[in-house]
């Protein structure tokens, strides 16, 4: 009954999450709105575009009921631009900016993504729709790109082979960065490390190793850390005494 898996998402769980990303489809058939648990789907009226979760879009695609519009960041020009930035800059390229501005050409799309009590985070941000900004990789970039290329290759803006080879370059550049960041891990200087811009599958891949290193270093240094903390506490107490003396004078 109990789940015998170690902490951290597995690859198939990450793929499952990525299927919740919203994508834009161009329907080829009319389809009435369906009352789903996650809310009603928009009624599909060709040729009007609609936003659907990836799993539903793939289902429609398989039955040839719709075409999927690839997100702008998946265009070869955008990918090449990202690869260029990744090779030049140190860290991972920045994640997409939060879409918070109202666009007068698209009524109904203005939406703040921090509501009073709920903050949407990937996969619920519309970072894979046709309106997503080009030049930024969303959190689930590799999974979404892979399933779009496999199941909707004919909808891509460029030949599948070209996009794939660009993606492979990108994966390699970023994997090298992930490996480099591991050398910083052993210190983990101030008890934390920033990995902003990293993708979900990249995290899942190196999670076991990274967490193993961090925990191992912590256990080796446990006694050093305890001594340091004791010393700091003693130091604080001494300071307190000093100030008491001042007060006495």
């Amino acid at each position: 009954m109990a789940l015998p898996l170690p902490p951290g998402l597995t690859h198939s769980e990450v793929a499952f999450l990525a299927e919740m990303e919203m994508v834009t489809v161009v329907p080829r058939q009319r389809l009435e709105s369906i009352d789903l648990l996650s809310g009603q789907t928009p009624p599909l009226r060709p040729p009007h575009r609609a936003q659907l979760p990836l799993w539903l879009a793939l289902l429609l695609k398989k039955q040839r009921r719709a075409n999927i519009v690839p997100p702008p960041w998946l265009h070869p020009a955008s990918l090449a631009d990202i690869i260029h930035r990744e090779t030049k800059g140190a860290g991972f390229s920045a994640p997409p900016p939060p879409p918070a501005r109202a666009n007068p050409h698209e009524p109904g799309r203005a939406r703040r993504f921090a509501d009073d009590d709920v903050t949407l985070s990937p996969p619920f941000q519309p970072s894979c729709t046709a309106n997503a900004p080009a030049g930024y990789l969303p959190y689930h970039w590799l999974e979404v790109a892979e399933s779009l290329l496999t199941h909707a290759g004919d909808d891509m803006a460029a030949p599948v082979g070209e996009v794939r080879s660009l993606l492979r370059d990108l994966v390699e550049v970023r994997a090298a960065k992930m490996r480099d960041s591991i050398s910083e891990l052993q210190g983990l200087e101030r008890g934390m490390m920033l990995l902003t811009g990293v993708g979900s599958i990249e995290l899942a891949e190196s999670r076991g190793f990274v967490l193993g290193v961090v925990d191992g270093v912590r256990k080796i240094g446990a006694s050093t850390e305890a001594t340091r903390r004791d010393k700091e506490e003693m130091g604080d107490e001494r300071d307190d005494e000093g100030s008491d003396d001042d007060m006495g004078i």
Binding site: M1, A2, L3, P4, L5, P7, G8, L9, E13, F16, L17, E19, M20, L31, E32, I34, L36, L37, S38, G39, T41, W55, L56, L59, P98, A102, P107, G108, A110, R111, R112, D115, D116, V118, T119, L120, P123, F124, L185, G187, L188, E189, R190, G191, M192, M193, L194, L195, T196, S200, L203, V210, L211, V214, D215, R218, G221, A222, T224, E225
Partner: protein
């Protein structure tokens, strides 16, 4: 005037995130957090699970009704409904199983204090108590009864070491910041502080991340 009011003015169809989507977001977040955290987290307090379960039940009834109707048009809608239903059930099942795994591993720990007991749902509490009682009785009848009485306990905490296993709260986790906030971390050689920004992904110890996650300023990834 709030930014929402301004948005509503420029965009007449502006609306906040609907309840169904919120629930899915909360459910997914709770699931991912439970899968990644080294210890058991609080059972969602706002009736999220009861709501999701009711919705699933209602949806199943609807599917049953629709199956009788053999119209090819509703047929496709039925497939979509069932696919989504399975996805929801998968998250709920995986979430509950992840929790049971943690409860099984450290049963006595989660039953030891009121604060820890309050993290369990009623069902989980009943399960943990009963499971532990069965286990203790079984041990008693098979070997513990031949021990001296003072050595028959399973939760002795005397003599510098405790028999109750606890999860390692210092193990490292990945979090994503949901708002701009200060992140404090403790390291081996020095402690640190950082001004974190939205969408930053940070590796740090769970004990340092917990206050941020509890306050809703960060989520586990």
């Amino acid at each position: 005037m709030d930014i929402d009011d301004i948005l509503r003015e420029v965009d007449p169809v502006f609306h906040a995130v609907p309840q169904e989507k919120r629930d899915l977001q909360d459910l997914t977040r709770a699931w991912v957090a439970e899968r990644c955290a080294p210890e058991l987290l609080h059972w969602p307090a706002d009736g999220l699970f009861e709501r999701v379960n009711d919705n699933i039940k209602r949806q199943i009834e609807k599917v049953e009704e629709m199956t009788g109707d053999m119209d090819p048009k509703t047929n496709f809608a039925l497939i979509v409904l069932q696919t989504e239903l399975e996805r929801f059930k998968y998250i709920v099942r995986s979430y509950l199983r992840a929790r049971i795994a943690k409860i099984d591993r450290h049963t006595l720990h989660y039953l030891s204090t009121d604060e820890l007991r309050s993290r369990l749902s009623e069902m989980e509490l009943a399960y943990a108590t009963r499971h532990q009682a069965l286990l203790h009785n079984h041990y008693l009848s098979s070997f513990l009864s031949s021990f001296p009485p003072q050595m028959q306990n399973l939760n002795d905490a005397g003599g510098n070491s405790t028999m109750i296993d606890t999860p390692d709260l210092e193990s490292a986790v990945f979090i994503r910041l949901l708002i701009d906030t200060v992140v404090e971390g403790r390291g081996v050689d020095a402690d640190g502080e950082m001004n974190g920004k939205v969408d930053d992904i940070v590796i740090l110890r769970w004990s340092d991340a917990k206050p941020l996650v509890d306050a809703g300023s960060a989520e586990l990834v």
